[in-house]
Structures are given as C-alpha cells and as structure tokens.
Amino acid sequence: MNNRSRIDDGEPRALIEVRALTKIYDGATGAPPAVNALNLKIPAGQFAAIMGASGSGKSTLLYLIAGLAKSTAGEVLVDGISISSLGDTGRARMRNIRIGFVFQRFNLLGFLSARDNIEAPRLMGWKSRSSPRSIDSLLEAVGLEKKRLRRVSELSAGEQQRVAIARALINDPDILLADEPTGNLDSRNAEAVLKLLLRLKSDLGLTIVMVTHNPEVALCADRIIQMKDGSVERDLMTEEIEPSHEWVQRLEGRFPR
C-alpha cells in the first residue's frame, strides 16, 4: 500500500510514468491530438493536480492513466507495468485493483444503496471479498455510516461524491484518480471532499492525481501540472509558488495547505 519509498539516489519512485503519450480520438481526422506526446512522472505518495482550459486534454490524460481509453501512441506505466500494452482483461483488472477513480458526476448506481455502491468493485471477482478494508470502515471514514442503507439517489451531491470516493478505495488501490471531484459541488461540500482527499492521502499514503479547473483546489496539492493543447505547459511544486501569487492571495485562510 505505502509506495512512498525512495530509491537510493534520493529520487522518489515514479508510480505513474507517462511516455510520449498521444491520443487522437476516432473520427477526429485533422483535429489536434487530445494528448500530444506527453511525458510525465508522478512519484508514489504525491498529490498532483492537473489544470488547464477545457479541451486541454487533462481528462483524457486521466482516462489514459486509468486504462479507460486506449492511447494512439506512447505508453502509461503504473508501477512499471505498461497499461497501454495490456488487453481488455488486464486493463479491467488494473482499474479494479490498483486504481480508484472518482468522477465529476459521481457515476454511482442510483438504484443501489450507499453500501452496495461501495461494494460493487469487489464483486467483479478480481479481489477476494474478504479483503481487509471493510465497507463499514470506509463508510465511517467518509462520514456516511448512518446513511449506509440509503439509496444513493436520495443523498446530497456532497454525500454522493463521498460514496464515490469510498467506492474508489474499496479494493485498497495505490492510486486515486479524480476527475474534477469538486466540480459539481457547492463550496462547503467541495471543501469537505477536498479535506477528505487530503486526509486519505496522509492516512493511506495514496498517490492522487486530480483534474481541476479551480486554482484554489489545485493549490492544496503537492504539485500542479498545467496543460495546454495536450501537452504540459507548466509543472511546478506548490511549495515553490510565491506567496504573492494571485492564487495564494485568493486562497488565504480558506483551504488547508
């Protein structure tokens, strides 16, 4: 679980490595690639925020890392395993065991209870149903133990997103990918979800890659990767950002660092 070990030369081990990754969507002849020969390394235990304008390729990058989409060229390595070269079964297994995914629109199964939604990934047969992480402990971690049997369609947006986060963690993944997890939430719920992600990162040692439009949310991460036209435009550690930067000014006192 804890992949935050450092290799001997002091460089943190890259849990996610993206090599010359290119994605051109089918039927988009002549259109620029959604992701264009992108290279990236994300060490284990890092919380990276990916920012960029709409159409900059940040969500596509996340889908490629998760194995939800197939790259046109290049490859994604998760813990040294090339997702791009895996078949459907291999990618499904990787998504189920190694990677948790949180969507902007939650993507819960509305007709099931919170508990059943959280349990769903465990029923795919990739991991033993008696895995150490219990559904109840996850419900407690996201503060929904009293609403465990409620249908998710009856929960608030913030609660639904917390169910989605718990679901992403049920199989004890190394990596949590979040596609604008606060994008559909009001500021109070957005703050609660962000705090939850930060707590999970520190408690579980998760590697988190989060797509966001919101610079305030991005500033809570360890690292901000700014994308433009499918490539990395700017890549900087948040601790290196000057206090006089306008993002920091706006953030003052509102979100935990």
């Binding site: 889908y63 939800l68 499904a92 297994r93 995914f101 993507n107 795919m124």
Partner: protein
Amino acid sequence: MLMISVALLLGFVIKGLSNGVMQEKVERTQGIGADLMIQPPHSSYILGLGENVMPDGLAQKLTEVDGVEAATPTATNVSFTNRLEAIFGIDLPSFSRVTGGFVYVQGGPFSGPYTALVDDVYTRTHHVHLGSTLNILDHRFTISGVVEHGRGARVFVPLKTLQDLLAPGKCAVIFVKSAPGSPPGEVETRLREFAGGALKDYQITRMSDLATLITPSSFLGLRQFLLVIIVFAGIINFLVIFLALYVQVLGQTRELGILRALGASRRYMLRLFVGEACLLCLFGGGLSLVLYLLTRSIVLSIYPALHFMLPGGTVLRVGAIALASAVLGGAYPAYRASACEPITALAYE
C-alpha cells in the same frame, strides 16, 4: 418473467394434457382386466377408432385355445354428440368373465336392448343420472346402471344392439384373459398359431405393452403438433429474453459504463447478462410450473374427465429447451454490453 412463464405454461399444459389423456386411456383399457387384445390388421390402439370387421363368433372359438380363460367380443363406436366419446358394445356375461364384472354405483345391468351403462365420471361430466336417456347413433338409450370407472369405455351398450346399428355379427376387438399359470406371452404364441395361423395378420397386443404403444405417434400429427408448440414456446422465450435484455443494454448504457470503469471485464459483462437470462428463465420456469398446477386444478374442476400428466423428464426437456433459448436470447445483448467502451458509455445520456 411473466411472459416467459406463459410461454412455458403453454408447452406444459398441452404436453401435460396430451400425456394425461393418453395415460388415462391406457389405464382405462388396462383396467378391463384382459391380458391380450385382438384387433383386425392395421387397427388403432386407441379403442373406438377401429372398424367392426371381425366375426364375434371368433371370441368363443378362442376360448378353446390352451391357456385362454375367457374371451369377449366388443364392438366400438365413437360418439360425436356433445363430446368425443368411445362407446363399447359388450356381451355382458363374457365381458364380466374377462373383467371380473362391473361394480355398480347405481342401478344394475342392461334391462333391455336400448339401455346403457355409464361410468361415474360420465355422469359428472355430462350431468346425467340413472334413467336419463342418451342419443347414440340417432337412437335413445336409457341409462340402466352407473358403474365405477376404469373398464375401457365410459358408455356401454349391449353388443347386439350396437352391432345391429353398425355391422351385424361383427366386432372391433376381442379381449382375452389368460388362465392362471399361463403367461400372456405363451398364450399370444398359441393364438398366433391358432387354426393354422388364421390370426397371423391380426394385431395381438399384450395389455402390458399398451403404455409404450399409445404415444403421441398413435395420433396422426400429434407429435408434430406438440413439437411445434414446444418450439413456439422456445421462440417466445428467446424473443422475450432478447428484447428485455436488449432494452436494458440500450437503456442502461451509462450503468454498463460505470461497471466497466470499475473494473468489469468483457467476460464479466458476458457472464452477467447470460446469467441474468438464465435466471429469468429459471424463475419464469418455476412460475410456469406453479401456473401449470393452477391451470390444471381449474381445468379439472370444469372437466373432471380430463387428465394431466407431466413427467419429470418432460419438465426437464422443456426446461432445457427454454434454457437454451434463454442463453441464445441473452447472447447478443451480452455481446453488446461487453463491447461497450467505458468512456463512450459514461458519456451516454
């Protein structure tokens, strides 16, 4: 699920009814108590459908054969008045020697040439009683006795009367009872050798073999009809499952995408849908058996003379056909579900 059960119910009821009617026919014919029956060449095993072309005097001659205890000539006719019904023209003394005699529920033996005996089931289904009249071959017969059922036919009239109306001196079947200690097989051999092989072209049937002889094949086209019904039920089952699951694939594309995104492989999706098809079929099949029992009790309360018989083998065979059609019906939706790409499906509104 209800549609599946109705389709299977159709197969179960028709198969159960045809089996039951035939089995009841066998039991009723075997209930005569004879060991062998002799019919003219190419006769049907279904009594009442044969022609009255054998001389009735032959029965008396057959009693001289070693091992024959009794023989009785019987003329037969099928009445189409109200309901299809076989009528036996019997010589009561010899018929009683073969059968051991009727058990009278009401009344007694024939009291005249135009009197009839009916069994207790007939009185219930036709709402007649002692003294009622029956119209047989445009003649009125008065019921002189009501007997317990299970002696071949439900309506009996004097042999001579029926012969006079149909074919004087002729009968359609001779029932033979073998003497104690004489195996029917040996008696059959002696009958075939009787009078220098005079009966060699006749049908001599052991009553114990009737169950294997009276089958759907005995009725022209019945086997094919049953096959068509079962195939029809299978096609309905296929269509219902196909449409139900296909609509589900189209209507829940997003949910399928969620499952795929959570790590469901294509094989898992295939298993999920084919499994659902099989479950639908199994629950539908279970419900159809419950509906079958319900239908049977309703039909029997209206038509007590009918019989149903649904052997376990038939249930398993129909179940296997239904399951196969369910798997086929679920195959394409399962393929569509497994082929859905997570991102495309998640973008589906």
